[in-house]
Amino acid sequence: MNPKARSEKLAFALMFLCSLVVIVPALIVVAILVVRGISAINWSFLTQMPKNGMRDGGIMPAIVGTMYLLIGTLVFAVPTGILAAIYLSEYAPKNRITQAIRLAIVNLAGVPSIVYGLFGYGLFVILLHFGKSVLAGSLTLALLILPVVIAAAEEALLSVPKSFRDGSLALGATKWQTIWRVVLPSATPGIITGVILGLGRAAGETAPIMFTAAAFYKPNLPKSPLDDCMALPYHLYVVACEMFDSPPNLQWGTALTLLGLVLCMNLAATLLRAKFRRSKNW
């Protein structure tokens, strides 16, 4: 074997090793979760209230609470994020202020989620008197995923070919008509993908909701947006770390349910993206 081919082989082996280092631990985590949690998951686990001080029964209120939080997040983050992205990509003058805003958004995506949690606590729970509630939690989670949504939506808008815009404008459409009727529909797949990925992140976060929305234990479902709720990630934290005598398969089951939810959302985003990528051919 000549030296060139050998060094190439060596480099490839190294890269392969690196990707194994990334993939294997993740696979192990998933495998352990599935092996130990699958026995806990059954219909009554998913649909029943906790019993006996959360040492028995199901996790239905946590699932429902997470759903409520996600719906609230969707309602607040999606319109705001899309409108902000439209402003940035279509209207904002190309100057330093716009650049600064863009930079700020990118940086917001890297802010630790506990900071969002404390900010949401200060603003929504205390200052605006929403209390610990689905509303405050949704707003906090919305803030958390806004940077992701804005970045994805802006990228999707910018990838719409200029020829579509020109075609529309040349027909006498106004700028807004062009954006609303041509650009936005073409960008929708990219935007949806970004939104689902953002929601997947929101579904798994504990820190932002632990002061703003999540209840340690709540015997009934929230009746209004101003009620607090149970939520999967916080429930997992509680049964795993705050209670010393909770049965392990309940902990594993909760973790597996949460992982399954997030994986499903990411899978949906990936499938949607693949589907739309096939159908668009410009």
Binding site: D166, G167, P185
Partner: protein, 277 residues
Amino acid sequence: MSITRIAPNIDSSENNGSNSLVDSTCQCSKIEVEKLNVHYGRFLALRDINISIPRCAVTALIGPSGCGKSTFLRCINRMNDLIPDTTISGKILLDGKNIYDPDVDVVVLRKRVGMVFQQPNPFPKSVFDNVAYGPRIHGVKNKSELAQIVEESLRRAALWDEVKDSLHKSALQLSGGQQQRLCIARVLAVQPEVLFMDEPCSSLDPISTARIEDLIHSLKELYTIIIVTHNMQQASRVSDYTGFFLMGELIEFGESAQVFTRPKDKRTEDYVTGRFG
């Protein structure tokens, strides 16, 4: 620089249709350009252009790439407004009204001056929705009225027979030539007075090209057409008048027969006979 001004003797009284806003007996040209200069930044894209585009006829603009033909077109429907750092001086009169006057509504102007682009650019919508797009944005809501406009526009663009059974198919599934005729139908649906075609056949095969040329012939009864082309044969086949651009200047303008057979300027002669450059 020699500029030939044409005072067209075209009787437009029977061809004007219902589109034109001016007195139909008017003999003057449709578009009158005076001392037009265009800069992109510091680059002079068009220098001192004077031209009169005759009404209800086909005018071809020829010249090498980058000579300013497309820039010229994009001045007349003010699509150049969208390019930052563009400065325009001079006058462009459409039916006697300067389109750069502050009281001119760009949206109304672009409705009157339709444009077909070099690359077919149908929207990723159905055939029907593509053609109905223009009428819809201009406020037509009635379904049967929309259907009628769509059919009529597709017929005029010689596409109806090919797509009448698949109006709700995606426009992106049509062939390139069909897409370009769809784009023409889309423009016709807003009932423009002037039709720009910026190298409309450059990405099409010869058969599709022939269909578009036939179409241009049939459309000039109703519309003032300006076509940019790199194809000398095409220019001489479809146009009544021809303008030759070179490096941002209009070198020669006149009846196509004259420009192609007895050009007045040596540079025009070199270009149309293929001895150029």
